[in-house]
Amino acid sequence: MSSHSSQTSPPLAVEMQDIVIRFPGVLANDHVNLTLKQGEIHALLGENGAGKSTLMNSLAGLYKPVSGVIKVHGEVVNFNSPRDAIAKGIGMVYQHFMLVPTQTVTENILLGLKDPKFFMNLATYNKKIQALQEQFGLKVDPTALIWQLSVGEQQRVEILKTLYRGANILILDEPTAVLAPQEIDDLMNTMRSLVANGKSIFFISHKLNEVTAVADRLTVLRKGKVTAEGIGIEGINREKLAELMVGRKVIFQVEKKIQEPGDVVLDVKNVSALNNKGFPALKDVSFNLHQGEILGIAGIAGNGQSELAEVITGLRLCSGSILINRQQAANRPPGMIIDYGVSHIPEDRTGVGSAPNMSIAENTIMKNYDQEPIGSRWRINFSSVREYASMLKEKYVILAPSINTQARKLSGGNLQKVILAREISCFPRLMIAVQPTRGLDVGAIESIQGLLLEQRENGTAILLISEELEELLSLCDRIAVIYEGEVTGIVDAADANLTNIGLMMTGSLRSQ
């Protein structure tokens, strides 16, 4: 470090040199170099699994790099726990919020601190937090319990947590994943205001257009290595960035054939349902879906999409009518709905869609184990199972040592392929796909989107619930927008206007 550079520019807020982080069987970060200038917003791009979160987690004190040096404000640091990182002014806002649902905002903010010493006098702290909110423009009720708050509000609590601890280097991990377009704008303004107040921000994302809107510089990671370091935002184009992220040219348009939709397969009328907390999740929802059509459900997570998928697939009770091929399906058990020819790709791959300790083969027969030739009333024919599973493994290019590999050892993309293979091979008439490409890398996303379109061509009716508007626009024929349990509008994808959809997603616009 020559003395010249320290005279001309302020010390870097963060310097990460030659960082190597390893997990059993995986090299997550391979000699990564990264810097954060004081007062800048630096975006970290890469597809899922590239190593961005891992790298930032090491800066936040959760992991120790095997080798490499981290400097904060010019000083070499050695974090042994998150406490050390927090002490040096680093605050991380995680993608999946680290909040205790049954405690209040204030309690969550105070968690882990040495003060208050023993007795909790919450009133004083409520006031302190109120003052902090005003300084940064992050409004939320300090006495509210976390589970009562909206996702956007919870995110504000996460940011307040870091600010309360005096963080001046903030790391935001995929903060926009759970926000509506307008809320994303609010977040961007918050970030600018934070920077104006002297903070420096690392911002992890895989969404190119958001990054270009707010970042000063960006770094691209691919498979643990840096492919572009600290490049300025000027003149960046999407295609080049995508190539840096993925390693090859990415085609942004999918081939979607124009076809006439057929008969009505799914007819939802006046459906209302409660969520797990007993509050209304769906309010008088009505729409229909035809053969050979993909209907998208757009909306920010938590507005009733999960519950909608559950009432249609028999996993939740509701009032109203749900007709599948003109048979009443509302409040019927899941087994019956499967018999009606319905496939379900669930939101939760590992928690609902698969049995983690069972093999790939055993997972593929979850829906048809009682049908010939796989199984009969009493037995299961294991050689048929092996044949079936091998066939699916080949056809869907599922990468795994063998069909006997346990499901929990598969990567997200391969597990999703197993689930899709299983659901498609039942020749469904109706498919409910919930967030099918969430958390997957570009290659897997392309395959799965291709499979969905193929099903559409075969005449399957598909209900596609997704948070990625781009995905909905390219795959769907029509898009329904859901907000607070109500359908605020149904539009043709061809005529769709992003602003209008954004407005519908926040309830500011309704069209019928």
Partner: protein
């Protein structure tokens, strides 16, 4: 069949359940289920009894009881927190281990008479009409300890900072972890506290409330009842105490039912046929089941539940949290 006697006895025997249940509440609120309570209680009872006998000092005995329960619980902690083994099976194995150790090491203790915990009456309070003698008159010192423990525990869990950390670790350990709280250390600590309290409960039996050593009959299932009490007390120490006292009163009531020839003016069927007393002995266990059913339904209705992370070993995720 004197209600005052029943309540008085109930407070005494209930104290045993209270200690064990509160200990289990601490452990479970941190996310670790400890089903070894019965074994820890028995080991504590034996350790307390024998140490008191050998040292002729009941306070050393009590310390030994607490210590025995604590040590056993550390084994449970190691296996479930560090080795991430299944908490149910580990707890069960420690019940066997603790019971076995207690029976083997306790050979020959039956019929011995070590010094016991003295009974005292609290000066001013015991003069209060009606309730004075019942609550504050001629009780083991440990009963008064129990009285104090209830509000202290309640306040600790709900109104203090370490209590908040405890609850956070049991609800969402990842949140606590990212804020620098050592989840492992917190869990070890509260499992240990739970074990110590279970040991204390055992010591309360053999050195105070039901003095003596009667092999496995010493605890006769009270450890399990304590675990059940935790569930239908919704992990709340005050409710657990009430449950413990009620059970204690029930036991006394059952005992009293077997004695007299006349019961409320009618001929006592149990006096006539002593074998009917077996049905009476079933009652605490049947009642535990009924209370559990009621408690589970109430929990589902109020959408309250166990600490969310109960029974799940905490592992810091590899690909982020």
């Amino acid at each position: 069949m004197n209600p005052e006697i029943i309540i008085h006895a109930g407070l005494a025997t209930g104290t045993i359940l209270l200690f064990a249940a509160i200990g289990e509440i601490f452990a479970e609120r941190s996310g670790v289920m400890n089903l070894g309570v019965e074994g820890m209680m028995l080991l504590g009872a034996m350790a307390g009894f024998s140490t008191s006998l050998v040292t002729q000092n009941v306070w050393f005995g009590l310390l030994a009881a607490i210590f025995a329960g604590g040590i056993l619980s550390l084994a449970h902690g190691l296996v479930t927190i560090h080795f991430q083994a299944d908490q149910v099976v580990s707890g069960l194995s420690l019940t066997f281990l603790g019971t076995g150790l207690a029976l083997v090491l306790g050979e020959g203790l039956t019929g011995q008479n070590p010094p016991l915990i003295p009974n005292v009456s609290i000066p001013v309070l015991s003069s209060i009409p009606f309730i004075g003698q019942v609550f504050f008159g001629n009780h083991s010192i440990l009963v008064y300890v129990g009285y104090c423990l209830i509000p202290i525990t309640w306040y600790f869990i709900f109104k203090t900072r370490p209590g908040m950390h405890l609850r956070a670790v049991g609800e969402k350990p990842s949140a606590a972890d990212t804020l620098g709280i050592n989840v492992y250390r917190v869990r070890y600590f509260y499992v240990f506290v739970g074990g110590c309290l279970a040991g204390l409960a055992g010591g309360t039996i053999s050195l105070s409330v039901s003095p003596g050593w009667y092999s496995s009959q010493t605890t006769s299932g009270q450890g399990w009842i304590a675990v059940a009490i935790v569930i239908f007390a919704q992990w709340n120490p005050v409710r657990a105490a009430v449950g413990g006292y009620l059970f204690g009163m029930l036991r006394r009531f059952i005992l009293d039912l077997q004695g007299p020839a006349l019961l409320f003016g009618f001929q006592n069927p149990i006096f006539m046929n002593h074998n009917l007393s077996f049905f009476l002995q079933m009652t605490p266990f049947l009642l535990t089941i009924i209370a559990l059913v009621w408690g589970s339904q109430a929990a589902t209705r109020k959408r309250l539940g166990s600490p969310a992370a109960l029974g799940i070993p905490y592992i810091r995720g590899e690909r982020g949290l």
